[in-house]
Subunit: 256 residues, 4 copies
């Protein structure tokens, strides 16, 4: 029995039609469209490009809008092919209310809305929301589920290290507030202000817009920097280890 | 036999009344009060907020003071419920003199003192001491004991790597003192002054307020930076590994 | 039977004539010539040195050209000694068209061309191409094959982490474009412009030429910095782990 | 039979008289003197301190000189107690010519020389050499032998990663020399000049004294930064791993 058009469309959209771990042709096209749409919305924020290629970029938006509308319609249409229990209407509703379904809808709205209401402030915010499109790429990869699980497994370590890092950030800010609050009141005049210094220093970014100038402030900043950099890097280190574990587990399962 | 009020209060305060690894309701409330009190004392250092919400912040201080006084009194009252040997008075004294008991007292004094003596200089220092409140959160977690043990286990590695890092910091400072001491006397005119450069460079913060300008200084700074960054990061790396071990051991024990 | 001159030359050029894992004398000489040639072409870009030692550097170029020409000729001449199937001409052609053969040719052309046509613009570009010579050093080490294999093994992890890092770089740029686009239009006036901030911050370089100045911008930058630094460092961490694995595998094979 | 004074002195000087892994009293005193002497020579470079406490610091130098002279004499006197083959004179000569013996001599000369010849230039250089005293602390720890061995074990990895890092530093410098050489000739006008940018960026220090200003330069710098930071950090990561291995091996041997 040859599969129906709806069956074939669902298989194409669901990512892995042949079961060999490769993306389907339709999904490859969707990846290209998503990357192109995100690139366009990023590039369009540049005034020089907007003023020169504004018309072309606008035309592309219509193409992207059509693609996303078509995809959304197709996903709703083929939702009943999902081998779960329930009626066709129920399956369609479940897709619409699923996280990925909501992202699809949000991306569609965000793409079409600025065409209908070309208000400046709205457009600007909407453009940012288009970055959500990248989340759609997550559909094509089970890695993000593994990652979420791995982070959940280490929530205890994360809680402790984030506590320690927060304490150190506050302690560093308080130390420099006491040391330099009177000398540079605009930069260290309160702990919230000094927190900017503390975060930029302990992440080792170090812009240099805020730095101690008195000997006492420099001594305190040195102690805070030497003691704190490792602690502030710990939560991200644990995240990286969790991610690495998730990847290895994923590969192990794939091999089985 | 139903437990007495003192028994139930002690169980609530001791953190894990049912033995299922969850915080008791009273402890959750204490965590909220501590975080709120610390946030208040941080926010209150900002002059703009102080001038606008000073009255409200002051009122909140009375609430926090009452909470901490109540907690401290309850902990002394319920101390005899502690299943250790000794008379009730002895157990109470032991709690008062224990590290956490002293932190409780310090936090209470630091919260109440500025209300009694609103002297500016004292207030400012006292505000910093309120960060001690965060240490109270440590009561709710045995992770810090594991961490302390793990650091103790690696004291030898820490001693050697801190020695190496110190040597490199001093060597870098001496190298740039020789190279640029005459050109930028205010920044590299002595080894203690050059140490500020050395610490900010080898922690990779790099504010840019102090950097070599002569070719010789740049060559020396390049060598110091390339050779030293790994060495200065080593103690914090060892601390992170010790912490990670402590967490795993802790989880292993919990599972048993 | 004593080996012919061509056989001995080929053994010398092929890197390991005695089979004890050491470089042959001829290869040591070639390493010295390559390092010297690269150093010369780097140093020659410095106008002060060019104006003072230009004649000497030019003379050295003729020496390097002669060495590379001789090496290239010798490699073509001895190619038939390669114990593969095929006629002498075929083996020579295969060497000429192999990646390393093409690098040899490119380096030779790049060294000789500026002597024949001393056009300024061409010279400048050609000098950069001379850095290709360093790739010739890769011939003497099988480590790069191991590395390439290890990276290929982890292409899945790399794909996921690079996606995450890219998303975070874009998200950070978008956040600061929204927060500071109006205040600092030349720095945050579009997402592509804000990307420069985002890359320099999340790699923790932090030049300080671009940094937020409004409280909202600082809060957003703090969140992006604290959340993102670990994620952006993840692809390079995976590369480092892949490399470390490749090295250990290589050593394991060497021991067998 | 009670040990002679020379035997007891030798045991005290050799570090571990009872064999319980603890430093002897004499060695503890020496550690204190060395740390004090290094601190003095660092602090004395600060003109403000020199002008105020110059006399006291000078007096301390005589104390340190006496201590080091006494220690050196005692080490030569007790050298024959070393349980090696050879006559007493041979053992003494062997100590004098051993690396640690030479450091002892150098430190002694460097401490005494400025008292005999108070020439300014000599003093300044001599002060730096006093940092050698810290190397004397190495005598009290076998960790540095383990470290040296571990680095030697990984010399192959270090060679490959240092090659890659060097290539990337040169490539980054060349890229920005091409992109910004004409715009900022004093900063990127030659590859050696651009190397300063390349090193400060790829170590993530990022002072901000040198950074690209053209769009092309920023794009190239972004690519170099994203690709290169992991590679440049690799040699130091390998060193850290080697060190960590050495420490574990050392502890394993101690337990046996």
């Amino acid at each position: 029995m040859t599969p129906s058009l709806r069956q074939r469309t669902w298989l194409q959209l669901s990512g892995d039609p042949v079961g060999d771990g490769r993306l389907s042709l339709v999904n490859w096209l969707l990846v290209v469209v998503i990357v192109a749409a995100v690139t366009c919305s990023i590039v369009a924020t540049e005034p020089e490009i907007e003023s020169r290629f504004g018309v072309q970029l606008n035309a592309l938006e219509y193409v992207f809008g059509a693609c996303f509308a078509l995809e959304y319609a197709a996903r709703i249409w083929t939702a009943p092919e999902n081998p779960e229990a329930g009626s066709a209407g129920r399956k369609r509703l479940r897709f619409i209310l699923s996280p990925l379904g909501l992202v699809d809808l949000a991306v569609l709205v965000v793409t079409l809305l600025p065409m209908l209401m070309p208000g400046v402030a709205v457009l600007r915010l909407a453009r940012l929301l288009r970055l959500l499109m990248l989340a759609k790429l997550g559909r094509f990869s089970s890695a993000f589920h593994d990652l979420a699980r791995a982070i959940h497994d280490r929530r205890y370590e994360l809680y402790v290290t984030i506590s320690l890092a927060t304490f150190l950030l506050l302690f560093g800010a308080a130390a420099l507030y006491l040391a330099e609050g009177d000398v540079q009141p605009d930069k260290f005049g309160s702990i919230p202000r000094a927190l900017w210094w503390s975060i930029i220093t302990l992440t080792t970014v170090g812009y240099g817009d805020v730095s101690p100038i008195t000997p006492l402030g420099k001594v305190m900043a040195s102690i805070v920097a030497l003691a704190g950099i490792g602690l502030v890097a710990m939560p991200t280190g644990i995240m990286a280890a969790a991610f690495s574990d998730a990847m290895q587990r994923h590969r192990g399962e794939e091999k089985d």
